[in-house]
């Protein structure tokens, strides 16, 4: 296992360098740089723009700028944002927290709904219940999440039951710990529903087809032949094997956590990473964009690694040696 880990981590380094270099070069190849944001402001003279370019090092060649950035990363410094003049980590940090809380809660909702529903519709294949739930899930899949977000906000305004956007109340700082948790949760309900419901359909369909496929496998027939009750066959033999692809999927979704909810975040005003990143790209705030890209890359790679390790734990057919030779 140690050998496996060292090998995988060693492979990550050139991957990260490759991905970040391509992003860095792409950001530098689009015409204009951060200073151009200010060029149409009559109060700022071209001389001042030149000074700012020099201050931020934007007048240096691409390779030198990238090398400098990489040198900072090697020393665990993400650099200073051009638009905000503070360390990138200071900007990304609080927003990552918002995004991760939202993504985790909506993921939990999705899984809590999708897996039981998937099982039910698979067991009752082609029944009225299967048809109804499948119809509803497709409906959920075909309504775009941002549109659902608009509906949710409108509902909140009409009913007055839920706060309208934001991730916390303005008086959050004056609350005690429990009220803070309650306040956060209060603001989380609608976004969680919006994001969570959208994901139910595809997961549920996957669960359904997995179970249907395994239900007729040889070892399931053997289990039934042994005289095991149907529920034991279902939960111990079918379900355990049906869950394997979900372990791998969970690893990938770790990276999705960071950028996946940008539209909903924007509509429901949730102050996550998505909007920050979008504005940073439009303003050519290179250190800020690169900081987010790096974070996404690392999370994706780590997620894959964790998923592989979890797969070893749940699937006796897979071990570290087979993973390595793949």
């Amino acid at each position: 296992m140690l050998r496996f880990l060292t090998r995988r981590i060693a492979i990550m380094i050139p991957l990260i360098i490759g991905i970040t270099f391509i992003s860095f070069a792409a950001m530098s190849l689009i015409p204009g740089n951060f200073v151009a944001n200010l060029a149409l402001d009559p109060r700022i003279s071209p001389r001042v723009l030149k000074q700012m370019e020099a201050e931020f090092g934007l007048d240096q060649p691409l390779m030198l700028r990238y090398a400098r950035w990489l040198w900072g990363i090697a020393h665990l410094r993400l650099g200073v944002s051009l638009a905000y003049r503070v360390d990138v980590i200071h900007l990304i940090g609080p927003r990552v927290l918002n995004t991760v809380i939202l993504a985790l809660s909506s993921m939990a909702l999705t899984w809590l709904l999708a897996i039981p529903i998937g099982i039910i519709v698979a067991v009752r294949q082609n029944s009225m219940l299967d048809r109804t739930l499948s119809f509803l899930s497709f409906l959920g899949m075909s309504v775009p999440a941002f549109f659902l977000a608009f509906l949710a906000i409108d509902f909140a305004l009409w009913s007055g039951w839920f706060p309208i956007g934001q991730t916390m109340s303005p008086d959050y700082a004056s609350l005690d710990l429990w009220s803070r948790i309650a306040d956060r949760a209060d603001h989380l309900i609608l976004p969680t529903l919006v994001l969570g419901l959208a994901g139910v359909a595809s997961l549920m369909r996957l669960m359904r087809s997995q179970i249907l496929e395994i239900k007729n496998a040889d070892y399931v027939r053997t289990a039934r032949a042994k005289g095991l009750p149907e529920s034991t066959v279902l939960y111990k033999h079918v379900l355990r094997n049906a869950l394997n692809p979900f372990v791998t999927m969970a690893g990938y979704s770790l990276a999705d956590l960071l950028g996946g909810a940008a539209l909903v975040e924007s509509v429901m005003n949730l102050q996550g990473l998505g909007l920050l990143l979008l504005n940073a790209v439009m303003k050519r705030d290179v250190p800020l964009v690169m900081g987010s890209v790096l974070m996404g890359t690392v999370l994706l790679l780590l997620g894959n690694l964790l998923a592989d390790m979890a797969l070893v734990a749940v699937d006796p057919r897979v071990n570290f040696t087979t993973l390595e030779t793949q």
């Binding site: 151009a36 009559p42 638009a83 003049r85």
Partner: protein, 573 residues
């Protein structure tokens, strides 16, 4: 068997229990606490679209930072938004002497920084030193250079500042409107070369030393900025009671305008700047929401079609592109001016809430706006006649050509992301199509557009807007032929046309006269020249509205800022 059976039943029970727990958790999370009462706490809630970039007033280049720092710092002079004339700020009076070449400010004696230190002339001198420092890029310095030289200032005593000018310079009062920094708190960091990183948005608010009406208490990134009233603020009302009357202010950071709109309706914020399409629904709901919807005024900026007259782009290898000839032909431009359907733009793009723009200076700039200009009426027939007379005749059905037979085709662009500009370009394109002129419209993202305008010069026609200020010399970079924002042909070594030379001359003369009413005619004349020569064609100006709670008193917003903001309060209930 029995074992497994009970096991699965147990699991089913557990599942039901978890589902029930989740359901109760979701319902239980509804927080029932008293609604945050803005009137009882005298705290005004409004929203802003983005996070500030800095809390250091000298480094501010974006509007969010300007809002965030605006109430914490002050300048020597301020503008009365109703008269657009200067009023005392931290300077209680000032005087021009020595043929308008010396300006003496007498500072207030009763002003304290929030850490208790007195405000003195030393702070003014320090701030100017910082602004003039070439290592500190800032937006104040260009307005403070007279013929390329800095203003020499001295402080004969703690409460007097004397500025000596190389020549009379009328914009000086406007130039001196920079926020004063506390020398005692920042001089050390400045000397150590750390000024550009000082007072960033990661600074704890209690370390920001201000002297304005409000002091920052809290900044939560992407959430809000909160302020409390400054108990030592120097201003008093007519009864001698301390100002400001509000106890606090909160700016919620809400990037999405739809969300802002809903939050205002739900009572989370007390103030909202509606878009044109929201004005009518808000007026309808005014009674139910207990709000007032009031017209604020006409946009202070200028939104216009500019035409490229830059030979650096159109003359290649001795060959002159025909487009340069069209755009420098005043007859061609007059025809185009008659083809701009301003009323159509107002009705379609602004729901009727806009007015035609005639001059590049907004009518809200009461002294410097030239009211005598006569607009080019929207009249496609007249436009066609002008084109015919000038030799631009139809060469094929639906295609008009120039006197040399080139078909009239040019490109039109604007920046992406502003729906109103898209629609205005579409209207202009359609009208020109009727005249037989083909317009290829393609919007560009802002930075790409800026690069086309200021370095590659690869553009034909652009719909673009500039913000407006009261001081007419602030537009110097746009009006002067040497200016970088002289958009139709920037940074000319010497004026390309006699009328551009005349504008340059008028700009010079206009800065020599200190009395605003005697100064105005110079700028009226410049507006007349632009109106006649048409390097740009003005379009329309939005009429802005504001909606606010009826419980707010003394709430007088104007396009130039608030009238007496210190008097704003919630009515006692």
């Amino acid at each position: 068997m029995a074992d497994t059976d009970s096991g699965s039943r147990g699991r089913r029970l557990a599942f039901v229990a978890i589902a029930a727990a989740v359901a109760t958790a979701i319902c239980g999370c509804r927080v029932s606490r008293p609604r945050n009462d803005h009137a009882a706490t005298q705290t005004l809630y409004d929203s802003m679209v983005s996070d500030p970039g800095t809390f250091n007033p000298v480094l501010v280049t974006d509007s969010a930072s300007a809002v965030a720092t605006g109430d914490m710092f002050e300048s020597l002079t301020r503008v009365n938004p109703r008269t657009t004339l200067f009023e005392p700020g931290l300077a209680q009076s000032w005087k021009f002497s020595d043929g308008d070449k010396t300006l003496t400010f007498h500072l207030r004696h009763d002003v304290k920084w929030s850490d208790g230190a007195p405000f003195t002339a030393r702070d003014v001198l320090f701030t100017m030193r910082v602004i003039y420092d070439p290592k500190i890029p800032n937006s104040m310095v260009s307005a403070m250079m007279i013929d390329g030289k800095p203003i020499a200032v001295s402080a004969p005593d703690d409460y007097t500042v004397v500025a000596r000018l190389p020549r009379p310079f009328a914009p000086i009062l406007s130039s001196m409107q920079f926020a004063i920094l506390p020398a005692h708190a920042l001089a050390g960091a400045y000397e150590a070369g750390r000024f550009n990183r000082i007072w960033g948005i990661d600074t704890p608010p209690d370390r920001l030393i201000g002297l304005g009406a409000f002091l920052m208490t809290r900044y939560v990134p992407a959430q809000l900025i909160a302020y409390r009233r400054n108990p030592d603020y120097w201003m008093r009302d007519e009864h001698g009671a301390p100002l400001p009357r509000l106890k606090g202010e909160v700016h919620l950071i809400v990037p999405d305008q739809n969300a802002q709109y809903l939050q205002f309706q739900s009572g989370m914020t007390d103030v909202y700047h509606p878009r044109p399409e929201e004005v009518w629904p808000l007026e309808q709901a005014a009674k139910r929401l207990d709000i007032t919807v009031r017209k604020v005024g006409i946009d202070t900026g200028s939104l216009f079609f500019a035409f490229n007259r830059n030979p650096r782009h159109y003359v290649r290898g001795g060959v002159v592109d025909p487009r340069l000839k069209w755009f420098t032909d005043v007859n061609f431009m007059r025809a185009l001016a008659h083809a701009v359907d301003k009323q159509g733009m107002i009705d379609l793009c602004y729901r009727g809430l806009a007015v035609p723009a005639v001059s590049d200076v907004s009518p809200e700039n009461k002294i410097y706006h030239n009211p005598n200009l006569k607009d080019y009426d929207y009249d496609l027939e007249e436009a066609a006649q002008i084109l015919d007379r000038a030799g631009y005749r139809m060469i094929r059905p639906g295609v008009r050509g120039d006197p040399e037979g080139h078909p009239l085709v040019f490109r039109l662009t604007t920046n992406t992301g502003v729906p109103v500009r898209d629609q205005m370009c579409a209207i202009f394109k359609q009208d020109l199509q009727q005249l037989g002129i083909t317009v290829n419209y393609r919007p560009l993202d802002f930075i790409t557009l800026v690069k086309a305008l200021d370095s590659s010069f690869d553009w034909d026609c652009v719909l673009i807007g500039f913000t407006g200020t009261i001081e007419p010399n602030d537009a110097s970079d746009f009006l002067r032929s040497s200016g970088n924002l002289h958009i139709w042909d920037p940074a000319q070594p010497k004026p390309a046309t006699p009328w551009e030379a005349q504008i340059d001359h008028l700009m010079d003369e206009g800065t020599m006269v200190v009395d605003p009413y005697k100064r105005a005619p110079y700028y009226w004349q410049i507006q007349q020249i632009l109106h006649d020569q048409l390097p740009i064609i003005e379009t329309v100006r939005a009429v802005t509205y504001i909606a606010y709670r009826n419980t707010l008193e003394n709430y007088y917003p104007t396009v130039w800022g608030f009238y007496h903001p210190e008097w704003i309060e919630f009515r006692a209930q």
